[in-house]
Symmetry: C2
Subunit: 195 residues, 2 copies
């Protein structure tokens, strides 16, 4: 739950409340990662349930609930920073999945997908580099990290798409692979289904 941990990290700088946490979160990520307000409240409830956060009385306005981090919360946050991020299988990625699926179906469609995505990625890349150009290189470290991350992964995506396209080009001449789409298949195809 990286959102919850991020809220904990913000709360470590002092007690706060829902909307303020949302704003702080978005400020720290330069507005690149907007955070839905509703998610803040549900996440706070979960953090409170787990004892990582406690509600403090807001004497002035009833409409504000101030939350503060607990000692257990500080401990949990420390653990989060210490433990490695990825342990299970790598996260599924929509575009990769799409390309895997479309390639088996029709290689021409795959080339279309690649070209569409490449255009989008290059455009994003230009946007990110523009943002970076406007940022002093001694600016906020977190913001620079985030920008660099976006740039590196988007660059990698472009190069990956190029490699996919050339792979298709290299193999397309030799291997036909897929039937030309027919409706009304399954009537007769039933025998092979195990029963």
């Amino acid at each position: 739950m990286s959102v919850g941990m991020s809220l904990l990290a913000i709360l470590e700088d002092g007690p706060s409340y829902g909307l303020q946490l949302k704003n702080d979160f978005e400020q720290r990520t330069g507005g690149i990662w907007p955070l839905n307000v509703g998610q803040v409240y549900t996440t706070l409830q979960r953090l409170q349930r787990d004892g990582l956060v406690e509600a403090e009385s807001s004497n002035a306005a009833e409409s504000q609930k101030i939350y503060g981090i607990t000692d257990q919360g500080r401990q949990r946050l420390s653990d989060w920073f210490r433990e490695p991020a990825a342990d299970g299988p790598p996260a599924r990625e929509g575009l990769v999945l799409k390309l895997v699926m479309v390639t088996r179906r029709n290689r021409d469609d795959a080339v279309g997908v690649i070209q569409t995505e490449r255009r989008g990625a290059v455009q994003l890349l230009q946007e990110y580099t523009r943002l970076k150009r406007e940022t002093p290189s001694d600016g906020d470290l977190g913001w620079l990290f985030l920008l660099d991350s976006l740039i590196f992964t988007t660059e990698a995506r472009v190069r990956w798409l190029d490699s996919c396209e050339s792979r298709i080009a290299a193999s397309g001449d030799t291997a036909p692979q897929r039937r030309p789409v027919e409706p009304a298949t399954h009537a007769f195809e039933h025998e092979e289904v195990p029963s």
Copy 2:
């Protein structure tokens, strides 16, 4: 819903049922992306609700429900292949979030996070390149795409981590950074907030 669309893509090859769909999915992704069975059934229910899939009578065993793609499902699948994948803000990434948060808190901890993650990423990279070495370069295109994607993004992650570390090294000497905690941004309310 890329999982649902992937199931649709599999169903385009002919009717099938829950467990078989899980197995086909994992076979197409070379076992890199295991798919929980439960998710298959709930996703099938959603697809059926939306009319993209229909339950066919399972003649032999009652314990098997055979699903087939509908014309509407084929249309939806075509649309999925045609439409660009990413339109909203880029997906939040746990590691980037962690690094952004930890950097603001303590740069030494940030270096620790970077080094831990770098070790893990390099190890993954070795694993992926080993898998690639064992794959003939004219093998299944989808599998090669998937493998390349993992390699490209993991490489990018390593280079990103290196760049983060050198940024910290470059700026660490000059700039103190921890803000001395200022709540009270907000008009009148919490002059009572304990800090």
